[in-house]
Amino acid sequence: MAAALINVPAKARRGDVIEIRTLTSHIMETGFRRTAAGDLVPRDIITSFTCRYNGTEIFRADFYPAIAANPYLSFFTVAKESGRFDFEWIGDNGYSSTASASITVE
């Protein structure tokens, strides 16, 4: 399920620094909270985010429970060539989610 919002400029000039913003839907349960009965709620977080630009990794992040629910990320890259950005989120309990966006560089 593509539960992610991606914001990549559709067009850019070669050499421009562009901002990429991603927001994905995830509970990011810290594993430190307790229910009213005192039971620890098991951890369920996204642990890793990767962004590839035409197959080359350009940005990677490791997440810890201190990242807020529905992780938001903003980072930058140089627009080199037209192509595709692939985004991948990996987390606890086998969580995996992907998304992609394309860009035209002139």
């Binding site: 430190f32 009213a36 201190a66 990242i67 807020a68 990320l73 903003s74 980072f75 890259t77």
Partner: protein, 155 residues
């Protein structure tokens, strides 16, 4: 033997005291400055950490610690020979001292990352950048949190 009021009260006091201690011991859910140092050393190793170059934008006072916007930027030309390799963010008093690691490269163009974090208490947030020459630069910011995150009960 009938329980007198005095006996009952002292008994009740004992029970309360005994009941309180485990609750207190259940809640050292807080990274200590020592844990913060260990977490930083796990990333940095023995390398010296200099102050400067890194800028941490985070509100000094937040109402809700569950989602605190944060931007880290590093003064770097971001060329093939002089760039930021990674940015690491730590906290002092959450149950765990790490917040996130962000890996960049020369093609990032600008060494800046934004995200939203959780803060369990009023505390210090530390951002450390590793440059391409393997030098480390840091900055710290103090944040006052009115409503804590992480350890509240689930409804």
């Amino acid at each position: 033997m009938r329980t007198t009021r005095r006996q009952f009260l002292s008994l009740a006091g004992t029970v309360t005291a005994a009941g309180t201690i485990p609750i207190v011991t259940l809640r050292p859910l807080e990274a200590t400055p020592a844990m913060l140092n260990t977490a930083i050393r796990n990333v940095v190793g023995e390398a010296p950490i200099r102050t400067g170059k890194v800028k941490l934008d985070i509100p000094p006072l937040v109402e809700n610690g569950n989602t605190v916007p944060m931007t880290v930027s590093v003064a770097s030309p971001m060329t093939a020979t002089d760039y930021v390799k990674s940015i690491h963010v730590f906290n002092e008093k959450n149950p765990q001292p790490n917040i996130g690691n962000f890996h960049l490269g020369p093609s990032s163009g600008r060494a800046q990352v934004s995200t939203r974090i959780r803060l369990a208490d009023s505390q210090k947030v530390v951002a450390i950048a590793r440059l391409s020459d393997d030098s480390f630069w840091q900055v710290a910011a103090d944040v006052v949190v009115t409503l804590a995150a992480c350890t509240e009960e689930v409804n």
